[in-house]
Amino acid sequence: MITLLYFAWVREKIGLGEETLSVPAHVKNVGDLIAFLIARGDGYADALGDSDRLRIAVNQDHVDFNYPVSDGDEIAIFPPVTGG
């Protein structure tokens, strides 16, 4: 099982802020995970379709799309940050 967190307009488009799910064995890295989620359709496809506008953190560290996904991870998907 992995925990997924969504923030800002990614959260709004998907329609929830957090979910826990098990992913199929072919999901090896963040890029695979995004593709898997997009295939769920509707809000996911809308929120995650443009990968240039997405940033990822695994276990609270910034990572790129090649970063491996492991059981028990907390994976956050969000737009480029705009604090400060």
């Binding site: 967190l5 923030f7 800002a8 307009w9 953190a57 609270q60 910034h62 907390e74 956050a76 969000f78 737009p79 480029p80 940050v81 705009t82 604090g83 400060g84």
Partner: protein, 161 residues
């Protein structure tokens, strides 16, 4: 809504605070300055405020609570490896903020001014592109997420060389 209004981590030479509460930048700077040793010859501070443009009603700062303080602490640690700093303070707010309200405060203390200036500049540039906060602007007729600026990326990238 987060129940914790303020969380704090304190190393020997740094304080990072992520909070919903308003802060008094003058009081923060006075406290920061007062606890420095006489070897500190330079204190630099920066205050970021909610800027009113096009009839802004307020902004809501969303944040990733588990990551925000951790990321800010990493950025402060990175600054400490690049410059000889005696102390650093970073405060970042979240929640609903009105125009003119303080959002972010950075203070640096060092023996010499160049380290204090440069580190404060670096901290803001990195914070803008790495700390997990997102601004949503509310006006009378619409609510919009603020887009990240490429100029902020450029500002952060200039420290990479």
């Amino acid at each position: 809504m987060k129940l914790l209004s303020s969380r704090r981590s304190r190393g020997a030479d740094m304080t990072v605070r992520v909070t919903a509460d308003v802060f008094d930048s003058g009081a923060e700077l006075s406290r920061f300055e007062a606890k420095q040793s006489t070897a500190v010859g330079a204190v630099v501070s920066f205050l970021g405020r909610v800027r009113d443009d096009q009839d802004l009603a307020d902004i809501t700062l969303e944040h990733y609570q588990a990551m925000a303080e951790r990321e800010l602490t990493k950025i402060v640690a990175e600054a400490s490896t690049r410059w000889d700093l005696a102390d650093v303070l970073v405060i970042h707010r979240y929640g609903c903020l009105k125009p003119g309200a303080p959002i972010v405060f950075v203070a640096t203390a060092a023996q010499h001014r160049q380290a204090a200036f440069d580190a404060a500049n670096f901290l803001m540039d990195y914070l803008k592109t790495r700390a997990p906060f997102w601004k949503k602007e509310t006006r009378a007729d619409r609510t919009t997420w603020v887009d990240a600026k490429t100029s902020d990326d450029d500002a952060a990238n200039k420290w990479s060389s």
